[in-house]
Structure formats: structure tokens, C-alpha cells
């Protein structure tokens, strides 16, 4: 089937040669050799030419051939054909998420149409330019390039709604990033019969840190910065809470002093963000004092506010807007940690793998946290995200 949107008010990014005519016959086998070749070449290209953006370098690194082949191996006995057409709705400001969404979809062999925000950050624009440059200079990867479409349109107009509807009815899978509101709104739009609706609603993430001596502090600080600094701590997988497991106060104090040293002039906020931060801080005592009074204390480390609490409430998590606020709890055992059902990532630092595995297997945790990674890797993308195996969902 062919979907012709040539006369619709939509913009195609990437290449002037592309037209808004989509053919669901244009697919490739999952993990096709040419795809892996193209992506691993692209990875090298991004690491070289995207040097000024760490997140683009990280994306390039993600595409190394060895890594792609490891993923391929996990599916060697299944995932034989692509779904067909995959329609992705990506957030614009988590600069690289759109890209991973495309990569996983194209690795699965799908004709991939990704709608991106109309307000792109400079980083995202730069990333898209790099993609266009790479594929325009490497014609031998045209078959892979033919699967990649990045589009923009005014989704909140009648025309925009019509485009979303037509793409939804055309696609065999729809991938919706962007939290509860986006998922609810777009999921209402009908899809082709038997099409997959893959959704990523609001999530939050936490960090567990255990420090025994001074020598561990440097790493732990670096890892926390790595996990919260991109996207102003607003990504779902950036920790909003720190659980200090059996860690001496004096080590925690040193941790924060080092944090100040390492983040000087790096966490500055725009005026709007300063106000949003203030709003959250002023709301916090109201959000945390239910059903009983919480014992609260706030400390400021550069732009970051650390808020000591006795317990956490769902309201305080839901209202969290990133922008450098960490709720901080002291615990004596991992069993003290109570996670809400929409917890996504738990990063751990200084804790034995076997202890984490044991904890992970406890029944209560299984239905909450979806992902356990070492600190510093909270934002590292995985093809299994929020417990959803994207490759499985995009192939049959």
C-alpha cells in the first residue's frame, strides 16, 4: 500500500530528495547485514563529527558494530520479518531519543516515519544535519536511508490531526514517547487493525548510593552528574531521589562539597526555569506533608537543591520538574526502599551485584522498577525500555 501525503502540510527533514510518499513494501529483513554496516559506519561518523555534543558521541558509540551484533544475537531464533511501517512520535528535547527510536525501528527492518517536535533544540538540529550529511555522502547505504523519514507538522490543527490519523491507519506499529498526556491523546486516534501501539507513559527514576570511604566519592559524584545533567534532570530516567544506603553523614557531606566543585557554572538555569524550580520548592512541603508531617530539610549546592525527607509521596514525584532537585533519604537496608509503580530506572553505586540481584528478585520490586543499571548509565538507551522489548514489538 502507498500513503501519499504530498499535498498535506508537513515538512520532511533530512533530505530534499525525499517525498512524503510512503510505501509499506519498502522494508528490510531484521538485522540485515547492510543495515548493521550502515549503522556502524554512521556510528563512527557521529563520534568524529559530533564531538561537540557528548550525547551525539554516545549515540555513535551505541552504534558500534559489536554492540549491534550482540543485540542481533539475542534474537537469532525469532524476529524474522519487519512489522512493516512504524510511526514514531518522539519528544523533541531529549535530544537523542528520537534517534534511538529510529535506529531500533530500522534495525528491525521497518519503514520508519518519525514525527518530531516543531521546536527543535540546536543539538537536535545539529544531529539531524549530521544524519543527512552521512547518508547523502554514502549512497551505498541508500536502501537503509530509504527506511528513514523524519517529519514535522502542526499536530494540533485539523490538518495535523488528519495526518496523524492517516499515518496511524497506515502504520503497522505506533511508538508514542512523551508521557501520560501524549500517550492518552494519541492512543485515542484509531490504528490499522492488528497494529501495535507501543507507549511510554510518565516514569521516574531513583539512585541508590552506598559509600564506605573517601576514595569512592569522586566516582559517585561523576556518575550522578552524568545521570542528571543532560536534559536538566527532566528525562524520565534521570534520578529524582537519592537513597543513601548505610552511608556516614560525613561522607555525604564530602560528596556534596565535591559536587559543588565539579558543577560550578554548569547547572545555570533560565529565568523561566528558575521560577519553575522555585514553584516546585515552594510546593514541596505541601506535597510531602501527607498523610503525616514529614521531617524536611533543604540544602543548596550550586543550583541544585537537596531535600532531606523521611518519606516520599507520589504527589512530590509527579510534580517534579527536574531542574536540579533531589529528594534524599537515609536507609539502612535496600528493603527500606519503597518505589511507586511507575518507577523506571534504579541506578546503583557502591553496592555488590549479588545484593542487588537478590533485592531485584524480591516480589514487590518485580512489578515496579523496570531497569537496574550502574550509576552513570541512567540515560544509556536500551532496546528494552520500560520493560518493553522494542525489537520484539517491531517485528513478527
Amino acid at each position: 500500500m502507498i500513503l501519499n501525503l504530498k499535498n498535506s502540510p508537513l515538512r520532511l527533514l533530512l533530505s530534499k530528495n525525499k517525498t512524503a510518499v510512503f510505501d509499506d513494501k519498502v522494508t528490510l529483513p531484521p538485522f540485515y547485514e547492510g543495515t548493521i554496516e550502515a549503522f556502524s559506519q554512521l556510528g563512527l561518523f557521529l563520534m568524529k563529527n559530533g564531538r561537540r555534543e557528548p550525547s551525539i558521541v554516545a549515540a555513535g558509540y551505541w552504534l558500534r558494530k559489536k554492540h549491534l551484533l550482540t543485540i542481533k544475537q539475542q534474537y537469532h531464533d525469532r524476529c524474522n520479518t519487519a512489522k512493516g511501517v512504524a510511526f514514531h512520535i518522539a519528544p523533541g528535547n531529549v535530544d537523542t531519543l528520537f534517534f534511538y527510536s529510529i535506529v531500533v525501528s530500522v534495525l528491525s527492518g521497518n519503514q520508519t516515519i518519525l514525527r518530531i517536535s516543531n521546536k527543535l533544540t540546536q543539538e537536535t538540529q545539529f544531529f539531524i544535519e549530521l544524519l543527512a550529511d552521512f547518508f547523502n555522502d554514502h549512497k551505498k547505504h541508500d536502501a537503509v536511508y530509504a527506511l528513514i523519514h523524519i517529519i514535522q507538522y502542526q499536530h494540533d490543527t485539523d490538518h495535523g490531526h488528519d495526518i496523524t490519523l492517516r499515518l496511524s491507519l497506515f502504520a503497522d506499529a505506533r511508538v508514542i514517547w512523551g508521557g501520560d498526556a501524549a500517550v492518552a491523546e494519541i492512543s485515542e486516534i484509531p490504528q490499522k487493525i492488528d497494529a501495535n501501539n507501543i507507549t511510554f507513559p510518565d516514569r521516574y527514576s531513583v539512585a541508590v548510593i552506598h559509600l564506605e570511604n573517601d576514595s569512592e566519592i569522586g566516582n559517585a559524584v561523576n556518575q550522578l552528574i552524568t545521570d542528571i545533567k543532560p536534559f536538566y534532570q527532566q528525562a524520565c530516567s534521570s534520578p529524582k531521589v537519592i537513597y543513601w544506603l548505610d552511608t556516614a553523614q560525613q561522607l555525604q557531606e564530602k560528596f556534596w562539597l565535591l559536587f559543588i566543585e565539579k558543577t560550578t557554572k554548569q547547572l545555570s538555569l533560565s529565568t523561566s526555569d528558575l521560577i519553575s524550580q522555585l514553584v516546585y520548592l515552594q510546593r514541596l512541603p505541601l506535597l510531602l506533608n501527607h498523610p503525616v508531617k514529614n521531617k524536611l530539610n533543604v540544602e543548596k549546592y550550586n543550583e541544585l537543591h537537596k531535600v532531606d525527607v523521611e518519606f516520599i509521596t507520589l504527589d512530590a514525584i509527579k510534580a517534579h520538574c527536574g531542574l536540579w532537585t533531589l529528594l534524599s533519604l537515609q536507609i539502612t537496608t535496600l528493603a527500606d526502599i519503597k518505589l511507586f509503580s511507575h518507577c523506571q530506572t534504579v541506578t546503583t553505586s557502591g553496592i555488590d551485584v549479588s545484593i542487588i540481584e537478590q533485592w531485584q528478585q524480591s516480589a514487590k520490586l518485580a512489578e515496579t522498577a523496570k531497569r537496574f543499571v550502574p550509576a552513570g548509565q541512567a540515560l544509556t538507551f536500551s532496546h528494552i525500555w520500560d520493560g518493553i522489548d522494542l525489537i520484539d514489538s517491531l517485528t513478527s
Binding site: 512520535i89 518522539a90 519528544p91 523533541g92 528535547n93 531529549v94 531519543l97 517536535s117 516543531n118 521546536k119 533544540t121 499536530h155 494540533d156 508514542i176 514517547w177 512523551g178 508521557g179 501520560d180 498526556a181 501524549a182 491523546e185 494519541i186 511510554f200 510518565d202 516514569r203 536534559f231 536538566y232 527532566q234 528525562a235 524520565c236 533560565s270 529565568t271 523561566s272 526555569d273 528558575l274 521560577i275 519553575s276 522555585l278 514553584v279 520548592l281 515552594q282 510546593r283 514541596l284 512541603p285 505541601l286 506533608n289 524536611l296 533543604v298 510534580a319 520538574c321 527536574g322
Partner: protein, 354 residues
Amino acid sequence: MNWEQLITLPVYQLNQAEKMPLFNQQLVELAHYHYQHSENYRDIIDFLYQGKLPEDEVPALAVRLFKHHLLKSISTEDIFRITTSSGTTSQQVSQIVLDKENALRQQKVLATIMKQWLGGKRLPMLIIDHPKVIKNKFSYSARGVGIQGMSLFGYDHTYALNEDMSINIGAVSQFIDKHKDQKIFIFGFTFIVWQYFIQKLKEKNTQLGIADAVLLHSGGWKKLQDKAVSNQTFKSQLNTVLGNVKVHNFYGMVEQTGTVYVECEASYLHCPIWSDVIIRKKSNLAEEEKNGIEGIIQVNSLLPTSYPGHALLTEDLGIIIGEDNCQCGKKGKYFQVNGRLAKAEMRGCSDTQS
């Protein structure tokens, strides 16, 4: 606080040395009052200021807080009315809790300020809106509240627009004709006055030729700025179409109803005696000591007693031009509003919809 005395103060005649010691003392007292009477306010202060009100400043709550929480310094039985800000369906609205006393004080202060601009007598009043906007008694929208509040200063209230926002030209001409020998009072929201009245009259090449009128308008310049309409353009086009009309914009918000800031003949907004404006730095929200520098507007008002809205950090940008020396002769701070702060950028996962 002795409001019987406070209300008798002249609106625009006290200079800094006369006003500020008195004002600040009252504001500090008010902050302590709310600290005692509003559990939520106390929780916020205790959390952010180590268990007590700071001595060197009166902390401002972010005005957005009233969109999330019902903050009050009175018991539930004493709630007389809850006013809400206007908002589109997707936005949350502010909720302001008033007891009878506070509601009455708002009216009284507003009346005293308006007297300065309209004179002591009620004037025939032309409202640039449609009558349905106040019909819904249950929803006190900002537009409805604004019109009702201002209606007290006029009589023979005539609505200039039909429900579909077209001009009710019959009613307008009849009104002007009827009151051609006296001063009339025109009121409307800035954008509505411009878009549905001035522009439509201009299109039709109609000139009303009003002999003597005062027009007060409010509601913000955002939409006009988008159309690149300046205050000067607004005034000159208005005068061409309507005739001899004195035009005064005013700045105010539902979170501090009563203390409005009216634009003088020199085109600056003036602080009445019961309120004060502070500019906060864009870089860190600290108080800006110098005049003439754009920052975030904080409004302090002595009126709010039933809710802790005495010191509010707005999301409006403005500049304090000076104090006590405006060419119009009024004392106190005078300033201008430069529009709203750009909406916060969402960098998280939750922005697919932009």
C-alpha cells in the same frame, strides 16, 4: 492592621520616605499574620527559611502556587467566595479564597483608586464586551469579575458587543447619543477593545466622535505584542476611531484584586499607596536594587488577609522607571510591564505535544 486608617491614606501622594517605612511595617505584620493563620504558608516558610520568617525580607510566593494549591488563612466556614483566574481549558486556574472582609476591602480599595481616574461621580458606562460574559453566576472568571468590579463605577451599563463578538452598533450609537453632553466611562479588556471594537470600527470606516470619555483597559499586551501593536498605536488608532478619549491601561491580577496599577498621562503604571512593586533579577531572582533594569515583577499588597497573597512573584517582566518623580506629578514608584516571561522549555520526555 487598622484598615479604617489605611483606607484614608492618599492614593498617590506619599513619597518614598513617607510611604515605605509605613508600608514595610504593615507588610511584615501581615506576613506574620499569615504565618500564624495559614498552615500551608507556615510549612513553606519553615521549609525554605529554617523554621521562621526571615527578618530582612518578606518572602514572595510564586503566583503559580495558587494554580496548584488552595492557600488560605481563614477557616473553611469563613470562605465567602473563591475567585478564579481565567484560563484556557488546558491551563489550570488560580483559586483565591476570600472572606467577606477581604472581598469588601478589595472593592473599597479599587473604588478609591478608580476615583482618582474617573472622578467622584458615577459615569454612563460602555462595556466593550458582550452581556453573557457575566451571566454565569457560578464561575467568577477574571473577565466577568473585572467587568462586575468596574460596573460599580458606572450607570446605564451598555454592552458594545453581541455574543458573537460583533459590534452592536445600534446600542453603541444610541448610548453615545444619549450621553453626548457628559463624560462617559468605557471599559474593556485590551485585546477585545483592539480586535473587536477599534479594528472593526476602522474597517467599517466608522468614527464615533465621542466628545469626552475615559477608557480603562486591562488584560495584558501579549496578544497585541504578537501583532506588533504598541501602546502608542493603540492610543492613536483609538482616538481616531472613538474621538476625545483619555486612555489608561492598568495592570493587576486576580491574585491581588483591588490594588491595580493604572497608567498615567506619561504612560507609566503607578503604585497605589497600599501596594508596592519590586523587580527581581532574571539571572537569580535576587532583588534588583537599581531602577531602569528589566526583571521579574514582584507585587506586594496589604490587602490579602484571607489568603497568603501579600507578596507574589509574578511571571511578568517589567522595569521600575523611577520613584516620586514621574512627570505626571504622582508620588511613589512608577513602572512599565514588558510582557510575560517566555514559557518554560520542557526538556524532559513529556513534550511530544509541542
